[in-house]
């Protein structure tokens, strides 16, 4: 379980690098984010929530059931959209209102 960075989309703003609780994100020679050790990611999604460019994709390693899907997030005011993209390209969006408590 880890993240993959789409350098074509990364703007190099550095917001993600600032928040990683494991200090795993660094800048490459072009100033774009890369992950130092993909296997050291905890999967907390802090970096995804900072990214405004859909450049960070969260995925499950094959050793914990990953089979090609990935996840990214989009903020819209108080709404946090979680976009799950399946291996075949179909998208499923789950929207959470930050002002609503969890049901469970």
């Amino acid at each position: 379980m880890s993240i993959a960075i789409d350098k074509g989309r990364c703007s190099g703003c550095g917001r993600c690098r600032n928040v990683c609780p494991g200090n795993l994100l660094t800048a490459d020679a072009q100033g774009k984010t890369e992950i130092r050790k993909p296997q050291d990611c905890w999967g907390c999604t802090s970096c995804l929530k900072e990214c405004h460019f859909k450049a960070i994709r969260y995925f499950l390693g094959a050793d914990i059931g990953g089979s090609g899907s990935f996840l990214y997030t989009r903020q819209e005011g108080n709404l946090l959209h979680w976009i799950i993209v399946a291996a075949n390209g179909t998208e499923h969006i789950i929207t959470i209102d930050k002002n609503q408590a969890n049901a469970y």
Binding site: V19, Q39, S46, A62, D63, S69, A86, Y104
Partner: protein, 562 residues
């Protein structure tokens, strides 16, 4: 690369900007003009256990319950071995700290009468995805609080037995920090990564407790000679298979029972439904050939399933993604469960610094709060807030009568040289990762990890003790090529130091008090007559010395004496 010293001075230094640390800082800022410095290894916006969020507040006195009934629950769950004085002092504050964090912006569900909506006997419903950004925002509104992000603290500064500050280094530039403080509050969290994890390969960090909580606070205290308590009460979480996501949300949320592969509910056959028994019963069912085990989610509605997807996204997103990868959610498939590797974490069990009611450790000038502080299990988030508050108020009282002090130049030079030695010369054949992997393997096989079904015996512990000593010697000679590696190097040194103490504690308790958490195969039964006491320890001249102490009652005023 060589680090150069830079001095900083503050009134109160808080090491670790997580749940307890941020709350302690806020408490101080609201009460006084004292200068506070939070030093954080990552960034307080998303550091610590709550980086991904938290989906409920699990320690709250709901209508019909009392602080006394909370204490009884905690004491019963821990087989009688808690510091009643500490647990009770937290229970008395749970509701006031909850009200405060709601004022800061945490969304808590309320009913039409304006009462918080309960989830069970001690829990309330929230949206806690952004609990850390809320705390970080609150901290940033106070001029008296300075935050130093991306600085890794490595040792306390001690003068004449008193803690006068701490040493650390920057992860961004070649700075060795020498920080003088009138009082220090340690709030670094507990220790993960001591044992081989559930997913030892690519997903090695997909663990429940934060893999970035490396036991630094414990290790710094151990090296400085602070007394520690109850490390042998390890915490092993019952979690969703593979993703290691919490199970309580499903068990409590939709009332799912634990079932074995035959579809039978098994938990009640193993005695009262305590935290350790929920895990132990699952371990036994697997050992007896009746695994895999599951949470039985049959019969939940599509709407309940949707709510579970959301609840997990707010704290452990991997589980929701896993359901989508499987093409089936919990409404059409039970959720497989397993036990994690053992952690040392004082927010869930009683492991940590031995403290008095004011949260003072045995080292004058040093206070502890949250997962790093011992004696009071089941703190959860609100208990850590409460403990941060108590430690903050105590530190404020303490600093009224002390002045800033600095270590001798020679001590600083010596410490700096020791760090720089790790940055000089060529890298040897053993890497930091190799040492970490070896440590996790030794602990797994010989000290009651997943491989051995969490049980251990004295013969195995002796093997482990020898190997951990060897690894410590190797780790002291490791080299780092950059500041990130230097952090990893100190993390493995810290973990090994925690393992050393843990092994002594496991050996010392000659009974089995908490199945799986502390399963001594040489002494498989609980022995209240001999062992209803705390196993404590102190590092003296490089050796861990065990100290047994009598129970402390709810209304006792325990003071550090010897």
């Amino acid at each position: 690369m060589k680090l150069a010293a830079q001095k900083l001075e503050t009134d109160i230094l808080i090491i670790g900007g997580g749940t307890a640390g941020c709350f302690a800082a806020l408490t101080i800022a609201e009460q006084a003009n004292a200068k506070v410095l939070i030093v954080e290894k990552a960034n307080i916006k998303r550091s610590g256990c709550l980086a991904a969020g938290v989906n409920a507040l699990n320690a709250y006195i709901v209508p019909g319950q009392t602080p006394e009934s909370y204490l009884e629950y905690v004491k019963n769950d821990a087989e009688g071995l808690v510091r009643e004085d500490l647990v009770y002092s937290l229970a008395l504050r749970l509701n006031q700290v909850t009200a405060k964090v709601e004022q800061l912006g945490l969304v808590i569900q309320k009913d039409e009468a304006g009462q918080y909506v309960a989830r069970g006997n001690r829990n309330i419903k929230i949206n806690g995805e952004n609990i850390k950004p809320i705390l970080a925002d609150a901290v940033s509104r106070h001029d008296t609080i300075t935050v130093l992000n991306r600085v890794n603290m490595i040792d306390y500064m001690v003068k004449d037995g008193q803690v006068i500050g701490a040493y650390g280094f920057s992860l961004d530039s070649e700075i060795f920090y020498v920080i003088s403080a009138k009082a220090v509050i340690c709030a670094t969290g507990g220790a993960a990564g001591l044992y081989r994890p559930n997913n030892p390969g690519f997903s090695r960090h997909k663990m429940w407790y934060s893999p970035f909580n490396t036991g630094a606070g414990y290790a710094m205290g151990i090296r400085a000679g602070a007394e520690m308590t109850t490390f042998e009460m390890r915490f092993i979480a019952l979690r969703c298979k593979d993703t290691i996501a919490p199970t309580g949300t499903i068990a409590q949320g939709v009332g799912a029972q634990q079932i074995n592969s035959l579809g039978r509910e098994y938990e009640k056959q193993y005695g009262n439904p305590k935290t350790s028994n929920r895990l132990y019963s699952t371990v036994r069912e697997n050992q007896l050939g009746r695994g895999p085990c599951y949470l039985n989610t049959a019969g939940i509605t599509p709407q309940q399933e949707d709510e579970l997807f959301k609840a997990y996204l707010n704290m452990a997103p991997a589980q929701t993604l896993r359901w989508f990868e499987d093409g089936k959610g919990p409404a059409s498939m039970p959720v497989e469960i397993e036990g994690t590797e053992p952690y040392i974490v004082g927010g869930h069990t009683a492991s940590g610094y031995w403290i008095d009611r004011s949260r003072a450790t045995t080292l004058p000038g040093l206070y502890a709060a949250g997962d790093v502080a011992g004696g009071s299990p089941q703190k959860y988030v609100t208990g850590c807030f409460a403990e941060g508050e108590i430690a903050a108020l105590s530190a404020l009282t303490y600093i009224a009568a002390v002045a800033n002090q600095w270590p001798d130049d020679e001590a600083v030079t010596c410490k700096l040289a020791a760090i720089n030695a790790h940055l000089e010369g060529s890298v040897g054949v053993y890497t930091i990762e190799n040492i970490e992997e070896a440590m996790q393997k030794v602990m797994d096989v010989y000290a009651g990890g997943i491989t051995s079904g969490y049980a251990y015996n004295s013969s195995g512990l002796k093997v482990a003790q020898g190997r951990i000593e060897q690894l410590l010697a190797l780790a002291r000679g490791l080299r780092a090529q950059n500041l990130s590696e230097l952090m990893s190097l100190y993390e493995v040194l810290d973990r090994l130091g925690v393992c050393q103490v843990l092994l002594e504690h496991l050996a010392a308790r000659r009974e089995t008090r908490w199945h799986s958490f502390q399963e001594n195969a040489d002494y498989p039964d609980k022995d209240d007559h001999k062992w209803l006491k705390y196993v404590n320890s102190r590092l003296v001249d490089g050796r861990v010395q065990v100290i047994l102490r009598d129970l402390v009652g709810r209304d006792e005023h325990y003071e550090h004496r010897d």
